[in-house]
Point group: C2
Chain length 122, copies 2
Amino acid sequence: MPETTHLHPGALDIAPPHRELLAQVLDRWSLQVLEELCERPSRFSELRRAIPAVTGKSLTATLRRLERNGVVERTVVSSRPVAVEYRITALGKTLREPVDALLRWTTEHLPEVEAARARFEE
Amino acid sequence: MPETTHLHPGALDIAPPHRELLAQVLDRWSLQVLEELCERPSRFSELRRAIPAVTGKSLTATLRRLERNGVVERTVVSSRPVAVEYRITALGKTLREPVDALLRWTTEHLPEVEAARARFEE
DNA sequence: CGGCATCCTCTTTGATACTG
DNA sequence: CAGTATCAAAGAGGATGCCG
């Protein structure tokens, strides 16, 4: 049974499926992958080069997850040698606005956050 | 030195400190804690009751992280028995808008995502 | 080239017990 | 009541090697 969500007026409604979705879309590598694919379709190896810190395994996992959620699209371009292209979908593009809003928040408030951190380490 | 961020026009800029900040603010329990504290100041045990799935340890960790980043404030109200109150800060309130935007996205697009998932499981 | 399988490590989390 | 300490369990993530 899903946990009851006892909502008062104005509360943030964060039902489990929403949270799960956010977790899948905002995980460790997703944002960077999305960043790349928003600019241009890319091949697997191009993504690896663009995001040097990611391993093949994690990149595969990230791309699969994004593909499963309809945010990116995977196309086999040729075989021998295999070439695969990833591109962002229409749905994926709609994700960009809210993500940008969040990134703007970090940009605008990072100084305040850092001040708070300095205060905290006393 | 922070890793170079190779930016093309229109790319999402997600520098490491921003990502780190997002991770701290959007982690597993933060949203629910923020949800509660946006409504009203709460004591530790009230938060536990409001979020039954969180353990004391994790709640403490979450609150400390949010406090460190200036998003919530911790006040010792009384001793014997100890009473501690947590409340959202002005900075914390500014976080709500962009988070809401993201939650709206999940609400609006969850059907599309679920359709994509159904397509994917074939 | 893209990516799966295996192994292995490191971090995260939970359960439980204890304290000011 | 609001934590901390400790230990055990689980999971994410990396390294490597193989295959179509």
